[in-house]
């Protein structure tokens, strides 16, 4: 009870009604999300400059995804999709959800601590799973060395996720959105330290005590530690006090059933990930880092537009689902889909046209050579069309979880993975080894197309009319606009611009083609009077004005 009063008196929460409106919440978060995405991307670029796109970067990248993967398997998916809705509901408890929250934190952190220990012990095993060094193009030992240093991140990922879930349930979004920025800054500092550390990482044999390995590994883990520590002041401000509470809440059982399916989701998606990484590491050095960076670039627009929309829309949807208010649920879904289409399809067009220029412009300097950077850009160009399907899959996922249906997303993931695996091996067989990464990202996007179609169909079976016609119409118009924009930019590139050969030509291409494609695509949307553009543009103008 006390915590609730404190929350009402909290100045941040006092300026609106109890539940902040969608636009307001997502607007304030968008800036933070944007900054965190940009800095997050910044350190990856910096890494490519300082380390190069090579075996070192590959090894670090793979090792750095391991704690993420294990955290996801242990808790991640469950947290994002189940704990927040349950936390929201627990606030109607007589104690304002304090006991439930403590229990969750105790049980969750204990489980994670055990999981972390096991994961660190099993690091060589994990490496051999994700890295196929049989062709001699990857270095499993180096991955293992990094993994020992990076796997303890699991615990802090978990802490961060649990704490931000608690804050989100109280409609406190700020600190959770800003903390990753701090993490990114720590990693930037780490990379600088890495660059000034003397010596070379010896590949044969890999030595754990190598100062460069230690700097990179420990610094990166430190970033996550700092990130979760950032949330503690905010928690104290909402009046939350942690107490060990090992009891079992009956709602955790409900959570248990859901969690099993979500765990299945994560595991199935990891099967896809394992295959992807093995195909990449077997094909060519630099593949894993190109994949990771291209995927990051791919997610960047979604991250800024999609996530800020989703994080705000999720509590609304779970509320609508809890009230069995299907109309509202469908409405949120439809609005989300249409806004995503209008925003993301033109961006896909821009990425398709300027892909290789982006790759070279961002990565083609320092230790990375132009060919690898261009390959990265090509990979982006070939997969950019998947941006909207990806956003739709994420949105549908939230709808399923809001309806407390964790089974269907898992089944959809199974179908996506079943489609993905043969196509991945087809990449390895059909395409030249150094180009495999491009094909892998293409396949990735295609599986999202499958996922989006599948998700929409099953939601339709479940909920009835989804205003699909409206959504499809908006998508069609957006695609038309995107194609027009892309063609215009491509034409200009052919007629007036030099080929992308170096950093300078890449920037010239990017600076000319990007805005042309963007302006023309959105211009077509404006000319066709697409109504969805209005909330989207007003949000952007508001952001710009604020920035």
């Amino acid at each position: 009870m006390e915590t609730r009063t404190v929350r009402r008196d909290e100045p941040g929460a006092a300026d609106g009604e109890q539940v902040p409106s969608l636009a307001k919440a997502s607007g304030s978060m968008a800036v933070a999300t944007l900054v965190s995405r940009v800095t997050g991307f910044g350190w990856k670029v910096l890494m490519a400059w300082l380390v190069g796109i090579n075996v070192y970067n590959d090894s670090f990248t793979i090792a750095n995804t391991l704690p993420n993967i294990i955290f996801e398997a242990l808790l991640g998916g469950v947290l994002a999709s189940v704990v927040v809705p349950l936390l929201v509901r627990s606030q109607d408890d007589p104690d304002g959800g304090a006991a439930y929250t403590n229990r969750l934190l105790t049980v969750g952190m204990t489980g994670l601590a055990v999981g972390t220990l096991i994961a660190v012990a099993a690091a060589p095993l994990l490496t051999s799973l994700y890295v196929d060094d049989s062709t001699g193009r990857a270095n499993g030992d180096l991955v293992t060395a990094f993994a020992y240093l990076l796997l303890p991140e699991i615990l802090f990922y978990g802490l961060f996720a649990l704490l931000s879930a608690i804050l989100q349930a109280r409609h406190v979004f700020g600190p959770t959105a800003w903390a990753p920025v701090v993490n990114n800054l720590v990693i930037v500092a780490t990379l600088v330290a890495y660059a000034v550390t003397p010596g070379e990482i010896s590949l044969n044999p890999v030595r754990m005590g190598d100062p460069k390995i230690l700097v990179l590994g420990i610094g990166t883990t430190l970033g996550i530690v700092v990130q979760s520590a950032m949330l503690l002041p905010a928690l104290r401000r909402i009046g939350f006090r942690f107490r060990w509470n090992f009891g079992f809440d009956s709602r955790l059982r409900e959570f248990g059933g859901l969690a099993l399916w979500i765990l299945g989701y994560v595991l199935v998606s990891q099967v896809g990930m394992v295959i992807t990484q093995r195909v990449l590491t077997a094909a060519a050095a630099g593949g894993a880092s190109i994949y990771a960076n291209a995927w990051l670039l791919f997610q960047l627009p979604y991250g800024v537009i999609g996530v800020s929309l989703l994080t705000a829309i999720l509590p609304r949807m779970s509320k609508a689902a809890a009230n069995n208010d299907i109309d509202k649920l469908v409405d949120d879904l439809s609005t989300g889909s249409r806004l995503s289409a209008v925003m993301l399809v033109p961006i896909s067009a821009v990425l398709t046209v300027t892909g290789s220029a982006i790759g070279v412009a961002l990565f083609g300097t320092g230790a990375t050579d132009v060919a690898q950077a261009e390959r990265l850009g090509d990979a982006l160009a070939f997969s950019a069309f998947g941006l909207l399907p990806y956003a739709l899959v994420m949105l549908q996922l939230r709808v399923f979880y809001a309806m407390k249906d964790a089974r269907t997303p898992t089944l959809i993931m199974v179908v996506m993975t079943v489609v993905k695996i043969p196509l991945m091996y087809m990449c390895a067989a059909v395409v030249r080894p150094d180009q495999v990464v491009i094909a892998v990202l293409l396949v990735n996007s295609l599986t999202f197309v499958v996922g989006a179609v599948l998700g929409q169909m099953w939601l339709w079976v479940r909920l009835g009319n989804l205003h699909s016609k409206k959504v499809v119409r908006v998508i069609a118009v957006s695609v038309l606009a995107g194609v027009v924009g892309a063609l215009a930019a491509w034409g200009i590139g052919r007629v007036a611009l030099p080929d992308v050969r170096s950093l300078v030509t890449a920037w010239v291409n990017l600076v000319v083609q990007g805005p042309v494609a963007c302006v023309i695509a959105f211009g077509v949307l404006v000319a066709l009077k697409v109504p969805e553009l209005k909330p989207a543009t007003s949000r952007i103008t508001r952001l710009v004005r604020r920035g």
Binding site: G136, L203, F382, V415, V419, R432, Q435, L446, V461
Partner: protein
């Protein structure tokens, strides 16, 4: 959403507040009727709906028990009015309404101390509760229309004679084994109007279609969601598959205002008949196979629970699977096209299949070739290197793990030098690949496949696998062209180790060797 009879103990508890009355096994009507099970409660007149047994005729009856204090004049008047209206309506004989067997009032079949103001006794209808029928799923629209039609017809018949039937409460309605709705607990409210009956029919239609009750009088059922204007939302907005006509009929019958509303049961009846005919047509076309999640069969085993209320969903499911398969197939084709595209773009960069350039051996290559050069050897058969390593004299070796890619016979793989800031010999004098052979053989040719034109390569013999550069001897030199370059060697002196040494890098201070072939002398 599920409202089952088992959830009613609340109602029984409320009845228990009046001691001695309305518990299963109890008797009412001066001991004539034994109470078996409660089936509902119409709170508006405190009418408890029970299944009972006629102790004399030994048959089941439906009892509508009007509970109240006889001293309360308003309640007593209301109850009397209910009984009167029921007696009038009892003249109607129709499958849509249970036959009224008896109407009992205080002093007229009911004991003074029973706490009852009246009892309506009607034939017991076998079958299921309406509430149970829709508890699992809403019904398919056509089924809903067919179920409701006889009840609407009964209402219509009653209205012809100016009588109110009182069908505005869901728990008073039961589903008969032959698949119709029947008013099983008759007893119109004191002030019910003809319009109320029509509204009741609309509400039942709404309930059948959506599983929610749009009127305020049945708190046990989930209430229909309201639009912002305070009206219930049309069924079609909840389930898109509901035909517009039925959806609108349900809403229009509920509407209070005269504009656009359905005011007579005849109007509603016509809509139902049309909907039923539509369904007959579609059923003749496609029989829907049973779907699995509908497994609970009511213990009454009536026709209706074994039907598939969700056959519309099954249809959609089929369509969904079809569309998904189509999407997967399309994606497969797109993936293939995409990869061809990638290969196409990839091939545009020159890596293989360039022109073959023959670099004749320079007469006296290398200053340190002290011995007199014999005649150039004649090329014989190609020989495979036993092992290759990157040969490096200064700094870190360039891509040491990939050296074997230059001799793996695969045009798609290559070994590459690092990318240097400045041309050799700024950082190191050069970099190369040391090939070792199983035995000492005389060499005639080295064939190098490379995209890096401008690269200058020396071929040197070496005394061991890791010699100093000074210990090696130049036996050939060439500037590579994009594609294949043949280096003819100027000595056939047998050697076990051969070094391919890059002294000048290609464009961008990087060189790539796709394939190196060694040809022994005859």
């Amino acid at each position: 959403m599920t409202t089952r009879r088992t959830e009613y103990p609340m109602g029984e508890g409320a009845a228990g507040q009046r001691p001695g009355t309305l518990v299963p096994g109890g008797v009412v009507g001066d001991g004539r009727y034994r109470l078996l099970a409660e089936f509902g409660l119409d709170e508006r007149v405190d009418a408890h709906l029970w299944r009972g047994q006629d102790n004399q005729l030994r048959r089941d009856v439906a009892l509508t028990l009007l509970v109240g204090d006889p001293a309360n004049a308003t309640a007593a008047n209301g109850a009397r009015r209910v009984l009167e209206r029921t007696m009038h309506a009892a003249r109607i004989t129709h499958p849509g309404t249970s036959r009224v067997l008896d109407v009992l009032g205080p002093g007229n079949g009911i004991g003074r101390d029973e706490g009852l103001l009246g009892i309506v006794v009607a034939d017991w209808s076998q079958g299921t509760d309406l509430v149970d029928l829709i508890a699992e799923h809403p019904l398919p629209p056509a089924t809903a229309a067919r179920l409701l039609e006889p009840l609407a017809a009964a209402v219509e018949l009653a209205h012809h004679s100016g009588m109110v039937l009182g069908v505005d409460h869901p728990q008073r309605i039961r589903v008969t084994p032959d698949g119709t709705l029947r008013l099983s607990f008759p007893g119109p409210l004191p002030e019910a109007t003809l319009q109320d009956d029509v509204r009741g029919l609309g509400a039942i239609l709404y309930l059948l279609l959506t599983g929610r009750w749009p009127l305020r009088n049945a708190p046990a059922l989930p209430h229909a969601p309201l639009a912002p204007d305070g009206q219930v939302v049309p069924p079609r907005a909840l389930f898109g598959y509901i035909p517009y006509e039925l959806s609108s009929a349900a809403v229009r019958s509920l509407a209070d205002d005269a504009t656009g509303g359905i005011r007579t049961s005849a109007g509603l009846l016509r809509v139902l008949e049309r909907a039923k005919q539509n369904e007959d047509a579609t059923q003749a076309i496609a029989a829907i196979p049973p779907d699995d999640d509908e497994g609970v069969e009511d213990d009454d085993g009536t026709v209706w629970t074994t039907r598939r209320p969700a056959n519309d969903r099954a249809k959609r499911r089929k369509l969904a699977i079809g569309v998904t398969v189509l999407a997967v197939a399309t994606v497969g084709v797109l993936a293939w096209v995409g990869m061809e595209l990638i290969s196409f773009f990839g091939d545009s960069s020159p890596t293989s299949g360039g022109p073959t350039v023959v670099a004749t051996a320079p007469g006296s290559a290398g200053g340190n070739s002290g011995s007199a050069a014999p005649k150039p050897p004649q090329p014989g058969t190609p020989i495979q290197a036993a092992g290759v390593e990157v040969f490096n004299t200064k700094g870190t070796p360039d891509n040491p793990r990939k050296a074997n890619r230059a001799v793996d016979g695969d045009q798609k793989t290559s070994w590459k030098t690092d990318k240097y800031q400045q041309p050799f010999p700024a950082l190191k004098p050069g970099v190369g690949i040391m090939a070792s052979f199983a035995e000492s053989v005389p060499f005639a040719e080295v064939v190098i496949d490379s995209p890096s034109s401008g690269t200058v390569v020396e071929v040197r013999t070496a005394p061991s696998e890791k010699p100093a550069l000074e210990e090696t001897k130049v036996i050939g030199r060439a500037t590579l062209q994009a594609g294949q370059t043949k280096l003819q060697l100027d000595t056939a002196e047998p050697t076990q180790h051969l070094l391919v040494w890059i002294t000048t890098l290609g464009d961008g201070n990087v060189s790539e060797l796709t394939e190196i072939g060694f040809v022994r002398a005859q």
